[in-house]
């Protein structure tokens, strides 16, 4: 800059700033504003229409004494743990296997990724049929001769959430595999060569060299999986509608049902605020570690 006077900071990159105004407004009004509005109204007794009639923590008190909400939370934890662990492990294993310079890699990749092209609704319907004891897997095995074979997770309250997790894994693992594969391909060939020269076995190379190097990919993957877990709704609706009884209910479904079917906005808002809170509890320490640490390093 030849001019000795310092230009006004506000007018630097003016075009870019003007261009981003709509997005800033959207973020502020829609996301932040909508969130604040929801939290505010969760302290009211709004029914069908939002009304500012404050009742303190009554909605939260009722929420945490409702057995359906407690079941939903428990299901979300089980579902979350399963999809997190298994989609990462299976996704990485598949990617590592595909990375062995095998033949027909493209074909396999396409096959594994295909389920991801289906929506959760379709996935849910497909697996509802597959797991139906009268038409699906159980029937096929019984017809083959094992007449006492029993496999009907969707009709057994104690294991129904695992039946839903199977469908979710089938649908989502392909994408995780692709992300992992991209990460593996991003690792320099020389690293492998160096490891081989040093005589390090392949599994050790993966575990102690490659995976730590793939940290950014893992973080992206983690965020994608976690977002999918918290918002799970359509899969449950398509597979079981929350049944048998309330055994496969999830928080997002509670929010929707109470806001629209039960015409009780206050209760729905309280539940969605709790969902937000749980996300915040997970995100904030992570963001602090991730971004707070960089300043010093």
């Amino acid at each position: 800059m030849s001019n000795s006077e310092r230009p006004n900071q506000l007018f630097r990159n003016l075009n870019a700033k003007i261009a981003s105004i709509p997005m800033i407004l959207t973020a502020l009004v829609v996301f932040v504003g909508g969130t604040a509005w929801t939290v505010l109204y969760s302290f009211t007794n709004s029914k069908l229409l939002p009304r500012l009639n404050f009742v303190g923590l009554d909605q939260y008190h009722r929420l945490w004494s409702t057995s359906r909400w407690l079941v939903s939370i428990e299901n979300l934890l089980i579902y979350g743990a399963i999809s997190l662990v298994f989609s990462l492990v299976i996704g990485f294993l598949l990617a590592a296997l595909l990375d062995q310079k095998i033949r027909f890699e493209d074909t396999f990749r396409t096959i594994f990724l295909y389920p991801f092209a289906l929506s959760f609704i379709v996935t849910g319907l497909v697996w509802q049929w597959l797991l139906n004891p009268d038409f699906g897997v159980q029937r096929v095995v019984r017809d083959l001769g094992w007449t006492s074979f029993s496999f009907d997770p969707l009709y057994d309250s104690s294991i129904v959430i695992y039946g839903i997790s199977i469908a979710a894994l089938w649908q989502g693992t392909g994408l995780i595999m692709c992300l992992m594969l991209a990460g593996l391909r991003g690792i320099d060939e020389d690293i492998w060569k160096a490891a081989r020269v040093d005589g390090i076995p392949a599994w050790k190379t993966y575990l102690f060299i490659i995976i730590p190097m793939m940290r950014p990919v893992f973080i992206t993957t983690l965020v994608i999986i976690a977002a999918g877990i918290v918002k799970v709704y359509d899969l449950v609706v398509a597979q079981t509608s929350g049944g048998p009884g309330i055994a496969s209910e999830v928080p997002a479904k509670y929010v929707y049902d109470y806001m629209f079917f039960a015409q009780n906005l206050g209760q729905g808002f309280a539940a969605s605020t709790m969902m937000l809170l749980s996300v915040v509890i997970v995100i904030v320490p992570w963001a602090y570690l991730e971004f707070g640490g960089k300043k010093h390093g």
């Binding site: 029914k47 069908l48 004891p133 309250s157 049944g243 009884g245 629209f260 079917f261 039960a262």
Partner: protein
């Protein structure tokens, strides 16, 4: 050539616009959730009657059940895009829309048409009335209190057709032995909840029903009389444990095909028997009030009219309101729908045995209000959650269930 084609298209468009314009009658969009075979046929009767008045019925059917359709309807009304008229179950579903001033006051039309005299039973119009003003037109009476029994299933099991709930429970082991599910209860939450309400009115009696749902007496709901009802619900739960279907009509189909002994379901189930070509009294039997307490609840459907700015459409709303209560429309509609008419002065000779039983009970005046009229949607939903859990979880104790039921009643509004 292309120029010519464009001109022709343009001319055709103009012609079409003119045709649909001022010369035609007023279009009125009517939303409802009547989409199954019998229901669609019944709606067609309403549309025919309305079109005959020189207006035009624009059908806005929303597939799914009321649970799916109502949020859509409500968000259209609150979002400023109201339809001409819409179905709700009369009762408290549209209460807040009325209180917010979004619905049209029909009192003038009602006075002109002397609705207070023709509509029977009177409680129907009461549930359309808020602060002394009438906001909806009831079109039919649907009652939940029916036990549908399959003749084939009982023949196969070698036991006589039961005459009431107690005999039915006693016959359950024989049915099970023959490989028949004694009682079909689908997985949808409202089915379990409705079945319990029916048991409450039948086993507990009318007074117990009103004590709990009308007076919301939580102490009574926790007491010994309701414990008896829970005992009956426990029987029902055991009898229904092998039903692996979701939708109510799939459950009805189990009864039609003799795979299940019976089903507690509203009179809309009758449409399914009719479509399957079954005869009342021969292929299937019906026990109103489960044979214990012959009452009929006056739930049902009604039309509400959102407040519109357009004068022509408002005029058409008035015409539609009158048409819906017209004796001829009432007969044509209700025969197709399998429900009972809201007027006492119409002739229903062609009704079948089960409908006639219902009409006789109605004539005796043995009616009770239904939970749609007594409880808010919020309390209804909590009840659904409780009973769908109760029916699906055999290890849930009766005491626990009853305690939670009493809690819901205590906080009900």
């Amino acid at each position: 050539m292309r120029y010519k084609f464009l001109t022709a298209t343009f001319a055709a468009t103009v012609a079409a616009l003119n045709f649909a314009g001022p010369a035609a009658a007023t279009d009125l969009e009517v939303t409802h959730w009547w989409t199954s075979g019998g229901e669609a046929a019944a709606v067609a009767e309403l549309a025919k009657a309305f079109d005959a008045t020189g207006n035009h019925w624009v059908d806005g059917a929303i597939a799914g059940s009321g649970g799916t359709a109502r949020p859509i309807m409500i968000s259209r009304i609150t979002g400023g895009d109201p339809m001409g008229a819409t179905q709700f179950n009369h009762g408290r579903q549209a209460e807040e829309l009325v209180q917010a001033g979004l619905m049209r006051d029909l009192t003038d039309i009602a006075t002109k048409g002397k609705w207070t005299e023709v509509v029977r039973p009177k409680s129907l119009l009461d549930s359309c009335t808020i602060d002394g003003k009438i906001y909806c037109v009831p079109v039919n009476i649907h009652s939940w209190q029916w036990l549908w029994l399959s003749s084939e299933a009982f023949q196969k099991a070698g036991v006589p057709m039961p005459k009431d709930w107690n005999e039915f429970v006693a016959a359950a082991p024989a049915l099970e032995k023959a490989g028949i599910i004694p009682l079909a209860v689908g997985g949808q939450p409202w089915q379990a909840s409705g079945a319990f309400d029916v048991l409450l009115a039948a086993v507990g009696g009318t007074d117990a029903f009103l004590n709990v749902y009308k007076d919301k007496d939580a102490k009574f709901a926790a007491g010994p009389e309701i414990a008896k009802v829970f005992k009956a619900a426990d029987d029902a739960r055991k009898m229904a444990k092998n039903t692996n279907v979701q939708d109510w009509n799939q459950a009805t189909n189990l009864v039609i095909t003799g795979k299940a002994g019976g089903q507690i379901m509203g009179d809309w189930a009758q449409g399914e028997f009719q479509v399957a070509g079954k005869t009342a009294g021969k292929d299937y039997n019906c026990l109103p009030g489960l044979g214990l307490n012959e009452v009929i609840a006056t739930g049902g459907d009604a039309f509400y009219f959102p407040l519109l700015k357009d004068a022509d459409k408002s005029k058409a709303q008035e015409v539609l309101a009158e048409t819906l209560l017209d004796p001829k429309t009432q007969v044509a509609f209700n025969l197709k729908k399998g429900s009972l008419p809201v007027r006492g002065d119409v002739d229903l000779n062609t009704a079948n045995d089960c409908m006639k039983k219902g009409l006789a009970i109605l004539a005796k005046g043995a009616v009770i209000p239904w939970t749609d009229q007594l409880l808010s949607q919020d309390s209804q939903k909590q009840k659904e959650d409780l009973f769908s859990e109760f029916f699906a979880k055999p290890d849930m104790t009766l005491e626990d269930a009853q305690k939670r039921f009493a809690d819901i009643i205590a906080s009900a509004d």
